[in-house]
């Protein structure tokens, strides 16, 4: 379980997050919805301890990671997988090497086990035949699936997605969303999805938090979003896709 308690964050004079409180329970898919540049990705980075809040607490599985040192955070981070918006694949490594990179780096597993897990992710992501290709030779959707495979290969409890369908064509988006849905059913995984696309929320999320002007203006099960009265939520429900 990941918890944000009254988190505030400033970059210089600009207040990015104001008193944000959120809970992400295990085995649920929670979406964080909001317009671009509002601090959604920042929330994911806070959950991983990549950045520190100016106030409030970030709690992962009962451990307060707010002021934890970088070295102590590594073990916490390995409980979570992260899929970055730009995928953040290592461009000089092949798909197989990208998938196995962190297993070789951080886990003392025998090489056979690493290869077995890489193979498993290649099959799960439908990337058979692309094992020895570099990321640059794959399409956007394929790269996203490699990034998801790389996050899953650790067998994390929770997976964090930063705009998982942004920049993808409708077919690739659909594939990514069904891949995310299958995670909970097949792997019992929890997930946090940061997105500005409301259709993604209704397609995969159990619950949703709406971030607007640095504050959470809605936090409940997805179905109740239709009943929300906040003008911003009404406007996104009518427009469906948020203005970029």
């Amino acid at each position: 379980m990941i918890e944000l308690r009254n988190v505030g964050l400033k970059y210089g004079d600009k207040e990015i997050l104001k008193n944000v409180s959120l809970t992400v329970r295990d085995n649920t898919i929670k979406a964080i919805l909001g317009p671009s540049g509002v601090g959604k990705s920042t929330i994911l980075k806070l959950m991983l301890g990549l950045i520190k809040p100016n106030k409030g607490q970030v709690i992962v599985d009962g451990t307060d990671i707010t002021n934890m040192k970088e070295a102590s955070l590594y073990s916490i981070r390995r409980k979570m997988g992260m899929v970055f918006q730009g995928n953040a694949l290592f461009d000089s490594l092949t798909i197989s090497q990208n998938l196995g990179f962190f297993l070789r780096e951080n886990m003392k597993l025998p090489e056979e086990e690493i290869e077995r897990r890489v193979e498993e992710q290649i099959q799960f992501a439908g990337l058979e035949g692309y094992e020895d290709q570099l990321p640059e030779s794959l399409s956007g959707g394929m790269r996203r699936r490699v990034a998801i495979g790389r996050a899953l290969i650790f067998k994390p409890h929770m997976i964090l997605f930063d705009e998982p369908t942004a920049g993808l064509d409708p077919v690739s988006s659909k594939k990514i969303l069904s891949l995310i849905s299958s995670l909970r059913h097949n792997n019992n995984l929890g997930a946090v999805i940061v997105t500005h696309i409301i259709d993604d929320v209704f397609n995969v999320a159990d619950c949703v938090a709406v971030l607007y002007q640095g504050e959470i203006i809605f936090d409940d099960v997805t179905e109740k979003l239709h009943n929300a009265q906040h003008p911003f939520i009404r406007s996104i429900l009518s427009d469906k896709i948020l203005e970029l």
Partner: protein
């Protein structure tokens, strides 16, 4: 109006100063983290070997070109000057001191600042912009231990033989010019080199190699890690890395010479 202008300038200077101090603090912590991660060198030995090839073997051509050029020019110019005083036999002595103490290590440092430093800045900057460094941290790998420490270890190892190579090539080219341009007998040239070189001349020259290795690697890597603002940001951080490390190499060159020569 003048008062507003002065106040605005004051504010700008205060902001610049605050930014500068914060950057220095970050650079200091970054350097400490790099040195603290030295015990992980065994784990990252493959990365050290890769970086040793990049900053060592691959840098040999540029180091040779610069050393040969400066050795030849030095022999021609100093030889002309000494000829006026009828002291051409001192050519070996003067060129060897200049090459071994100063110009060999300095030129190598500047060339590596441009070659190795720019590569570090651009590569790490691109990784920073594309969130690859965040990905390393997110999945539990220390990016400083994985990316910076191997670069520093490789530079510390490889800059010494490169300095020796730079000195050797500089002296050989000077000897060649002494013989073929100034018609000086090679025996006279080398006789003025070897017996007269003192240990402190080598200490001055070779002590600069690790100092330059630390400056170039840490400054260029720090700038790469600090890259912001897309591809233009990578360009800016790379240039900043080269300019700052080259400047620091020149300053360090002066102080290492001064300190060693005054104390030995």
């Amino acid at each position: 109006m003048l008062l507003t202008f002065v106040r605005n300038r004051e504010k700008a200077i205060a902001l610049w100063l605050k930014d500068f101090i914060l950057t220095m603090q970050e650079f200091f912590l970054f350097s400490v983290r790099t040195f603290i991660s030295f015990p992980k060198v065994k784990r990252y030995w493959r990365d050290v070997l890769d970086q040793a090839t990049i900053c060592g073997t691959d840098s040999i051509p540029i180091v040779l070109v610069s050393a040969i050029s400066i050795g030849s020019l030095l022999a021609i110019e100093v030889g002309n000057l000494l000829e006026d005083f009828g002291a051409k036999t001192m050519l070996g002595r003067s060129t060897s001191l200049s090459v071994i103490r100063e110009l060999g290590p300095l030129l190598m440092g500047l060339m590596l600042s441009a070659r190795f430093g720019s590569r570090n800045g651009a590569e790490l900057g691109a990784m920073q912009i594309s969130e690859q460094i965040d990905a390393l941290r997110a999945f539990g790998t220390d990016p400083v231990a994985k990316l910076v420490m191997p670069r520093l270890v490789a530079a510390l190892i490889m800059f010494l033989p490169l300095t020796a190579l730079s000195d050797y090539a500089g002296l050989q080219s000077a000897a060649y010019m002494a013989e073929h341009y100034h018609r000086l007998d090679p025996g006279i040239f080398w006789n003025a080199v070897y017996p007269r070189l003192a240990p402190k001349d080598f200490v001055v020259g070779f002590l600069k190699a690790p100092v330059f290795a630390i400056i170039i690697t840490l400054v260029s890597s720090f700038n790469g890690f600090s890259a912001r603002g897309g591809t233009a940001g990578v360009g800016r951080s790379t240039i900043k890395g080269i300019v700052v490390s080259s400047g620091l190499v020149l300053i360090a060159n002066f102080y290492v010479s001064k300190i060693v020569l005054e104390n030995m």
